[in-house]
Amino acid sequence: MAETTRPLTETHEIHKRRFGRNVGTALCLLGFCAVVFGLTIAKVREGGLLEANDHVPRASVLPITEDSQ
């Protein structure tokens, strides 16, 4: 029972383990964000000249006609 006389503010092994777990989880989340970011960049580069639809006719997507030349 001598163990119970320690001050409650003392950092115990269990707190260190919890801290380690929290740091590990944080690093995993950061890593995941980095992967998603990197993947987005890679996909955008791979996609070349893809353009999103902005609901407005654009010269770049209209068929070439004599008038447009």
Partner: protein
């Protein structure tokens, strides 16, 4: 301070097995993951067409994570068996560090995450293959075959054979003869590899009542089956040499490695238990260790040929 509080504090301070981050990593079976990463990477690198490094990295990462997820599901389901076996008793679930429910939750979430991310990063053929692999390992092998039949290793070996196929599919979006033969190489290699292990880890499988071939059919039959499966493995390994992904390095390596593996299997077959007990299963242990090198060098040779072609 009440007795309850004092007791709780004492328990917390002396013996609480609360898990650390490493225990959750251990749930993902990192050693198995290393083999998955390597074979999937080779499958991805030898596939025609190629992909960007970032997409390739992401594909391997999530294939590995999927393998880890199936490992966590396996540890959740097999905790009772693992607790009995000396080799596995200190795993996070049987040792009480991680509650079984957490292992299940982690396994399910990581399975979903890895499949979805692989699909988004590469294509849905690769993602579907990964999902099937996780299902096959966690459900078909762990929940059904492992406790039901001595051929658990043979059929269950398919789960470990899928990574190069997934790596290949991540680039090409399909399955080809070369990727099927890479699958076949690991699939046929698994039984002799694990049965060699089972020969010198006999007491563990006996204790856990896992119907390993050594338990159900005896050790002499296991030795015979090691030889049979090694003989069947040879044409698959050599057949891969005649696909476009292989070259002279692979052919040379395959001839030497298969001759050595065949000799090892013959040595095991020729021995009986008296001989094995006398030298502490020296030959069985040697063949088991060599089998690891065998697989590593086959895939390493495929990689060497791919690099050779680029240069």
């Amino acid at each position: 301070m009440s007795d309850f509080t004092a007791q709780t504090l004492t328990e917390t301070r002396t013996g609480d097995p609360e898990a650390g981050f490493g225990d959750y990593v251990a749930l993902l079976k990192p050693r198995v993951m290393s083999l998955v990463v390597f074979t999937a990477l080779v499958g991805l690198l030898v596939a025609p067409g190629g992909t960007s490094p970032m997409i390739g990295f992401t594909a391997i990462l999530f294939i590995a994570l999927g393998a880890g997820a199936s490992g966590a599901l396996n540890m959740w389901y097999d905790a009772d068996i693992d607790a009995v076996m000396k080799r596995t008793a200190r795993r996070p679930v049987p040792s009480g560090k991680v509650p079984a429910g957490e292992a299940l939750t982690l396994g399910l979430w990581l399975s979903a995450l890895s499949v979805v991310m692989l699909g988004l990063a590469t294509n849905w053929v690769a993602a579907a293959l990964l999902a099937f692999t996780i299902f096959f390992y966690a459900v078909v092998y762990s929940m059904w075959l492992k406790r039901a039949t001595p051929w658990n290793i043979v059929i269950g070996g398919a789960a470990g054979a899928f990574p190069p196929v997934i790596g290949w599919a991540a680039v090409t979006g399909d399955v080809s003869l070369a990727s099927i033969l890479m699958f076949g190489l690991i699939f046929m290699w698994t039984p002799p590899h694990f049965w060699a292990l089972a020969l010198f880890m006999k007491s563990d499988y006996h204790k856990a009542k896992v119907p390993m071939l050594t338990v159900t059919h005896g050790r002499a039959e296991t030795r015979r089956q090691i030889l049979i499966y090694t003989v069947l493995l040879v044409p698959v390994a050599l057949g891969l040499a005649f696909t476009p992904v292989a070259g002279p390095v692979y052919l040379s390596a395959a001839i030497i490695l298969n001759a050595m593996f065949l000799k090892g299997a013959l040595d095991i077959w020729r021995r009986d238990e008296v001989m094995a007990e006398a030298d502490g299963y020296a030959v069985e242990k040697k063949v088991f260790k060599f089998s690891l090198l065998y697989l590593f060098l086959h895939f390493g040779a495929l990689l060497a040929d791919a690099i050779w072609r680029v240069i």
